[in-house]
């Protein structure tokens, strides 16, 4: 089946599924790196729906936003990984539940 015959709803369902998996991973996993990857997953789920709508409506805006999200995600990955590295060096743990020193 050629790509232009795949209905929009399929893309959206896939996007929603990916997003839900990302949310679930963010909420239930304890390892920071896994949480981090879940965030990336959510971003990419959103990207997918942007592209799908953009293709469907023959508009370039969706592509633009997708690239924008990718740039932000790349920057976030760089900073985030640096933070994770520092946290691990200082605390010798990656358990997200122990990262609560700003509470008090």
């Amino acid at each position: 089946m050629p790509l232009n015959q795949v209905p929009l709803s399929w893309f959206l369902i896939l996007s929603a599924a990916l997003f839900a998996i990302g949310v679930a991973g963010f909420l239930f996993r304890r390892n920071i790196i896994t949480v981090f990857m879940s965030i990336e997953l959510m971003l990419n789920a959103v990207n997918l729906s942007f592209i799908a709508f953009s293709y469907q409506n023959k508009q370039v805006n969706g592509h633009l936003l997708a690239f924008f999200v990718m740039v932000v995600a790349a920057a976030e990955a760089a900073v985030g990984l640096a933070i994770i590295l520092t946290v691990f060096k200082n605390r010798a743990t990656l358990n997200i539940d122990e990262m609560d020193s700003m509470k008090d």
Binding site: F26, L27, M99, D100
Partner: protein
Amino acid sequence: MQLWLIPILPLAGFAINGLFGRRFSKSLVNVFAIGSVLLSFAWVVKTLAGLGDISGTHLEHYFTWIQSGALNIGCDFAIDRLTAVMLLVVTGVGSLIHIYAIGYMAHEGGYYRFFAYLNLFMFFMLVLVLGASYLVLFVGWEGVGLCSYLLIGFYFDKQFATNAGNKAFIVNRIGDFGFSLAMFLIFVNFKSLDFATVFQAAPGMSEATLTTIGLLLLVGACGKSAQLPLYVWLPDAMAGPTPVSALIHAATMVTAGVYMTARSWVIYTHAPVAMNVIAIMGVVTAFFAATIGLAQNDIKKVFAYSTVSQLGYMFIGVGSGAFGAGIFHVVTHAFFKALLFLGAGSVIHALAGEQDMRNMGGLRSKIPITFWTMMCAAVAISGVPPFSGFFSKDAILAAAYEKTPWIYWLGVFTAGLTAFYIFRAMFLTFFGNYRGKAHPHESPPVMWIPLAILALLSLGGGFIPVPEFLREVFHAPPEGPANYTLMGISVAAGLVGIFLAWLMYWFKPSMAESFAERVGIFYKLVYNKYFVDEIYGVAIVRPIVEGSRVLLWKVVDVSGIDGLANGIATWCRGVGGVLRRIQSGNIRSYATWVLFGSVMLIVAMGLAEGLAR
């Protein structure tokens, strides 16, 4: 003409002594304090010499002070003949009293503070007489009130002095309330507060308006010039150092009310009812205060009630349309009453703080210069011709006789009382045997030279033709021929008073006591100042204090206002106690809340769309 220099010089003295005086030596404080006032006096003389015979008004505009809608008030100073007279009195007598204070305050603490306040007072008093609109006058008016408060409470470690200061300040607020209302009314009716504009338009206004304005202005004058029923602060004001009593509470500040009513003469001449009220208030105050003065034992209290009484005379003059005579009495009174107070100060100084006349006596030979100078003032205030008080009092009484004869007769009787209580004080202080314990010593020259100058002015001040000089300002008709009968009657009243004082306090001292016993109730009434303070305390002060304490404090403030404020705070704390549990520090719990919120939002949007359809 650089009129602004006149008040600015004392202000500079105040600033220098007030800021740095603590580190100055006493002689350096003197240089700035006395120097600034003397320079100011010199500048007044130079300005007046430059103006020649001062016909009309010389106005100087410096800057726009307040500009808002129709309200346009400039910082304007003006000088005419009335202002010229007041300027000379304020700076001239003020300079003498400043010099005297060098000697009087020599052994007191807070030397620099005293002179700083005194200079500040001079500044405000000069603004008061120079101001060319009611509001600029009011600035000076309030400023002198402030300085009066500060100087009455100069010995702030003494409870009675601070109480007296508070009393003066609070009683003056009542008067100033009336003055403020008068200014509002003037602005509403005339659209201006400038003297020139107001007085030009005043003849065209309705009599009812002018009467209301006049009476409200009178309330202000009544507070500042210590007239019935607001005179109660002035006798207590004697708690301040004696030069303050002389300068502020005898010669200058308390005459501000007379000056203000005389300045507003156009309003009053078109409001005959207000004029009559002034004259009656004046004569009743003059008589009332004179009777209290008969039985006081504190030498300063006698002169304080005498001041209230003499201010009453000035208001008789103003209320009888003889504005020039009223101001004339301001001038002569400034001479002889300042002299009486400074002399009393010299006596107190000589006796190391003793003020009770029962502990004096026989001081004539011990402090002769003080005695002779005070004698000059005593004959002047008693209206003995040809000394200053005779001329001004006679001019006032003659005007009163033409308008309302009964005011004249009460005034004459009061003149007799005046002579009696002044000479009673003189006999008790200077004649007989010395009854005190301290060792009297004559005051230093820095104190008695101002006394001597004032003595000359008290004796000869009557020959200064003040009413003649002011005729042009008040558009007064030329004076008729002198009525020698009236003159003779008032002189006779004064002489009788002196004779009775001589009889009762020197010739046969036991007479005073037996006389006091014979009129027991009246004597007790007078001795206790008619219980006016007690009546005010019960009728006015107590209800206000108790009402404030019980109703305003315990009910309105504690349960109403505090309850509201504290209630809101308690509620906020309760809500916060619940909400702070959300801030767990656990990232995943935050994320759960975000998810929960987003889901609720989507559900809400879906529902809203469903409903809209």
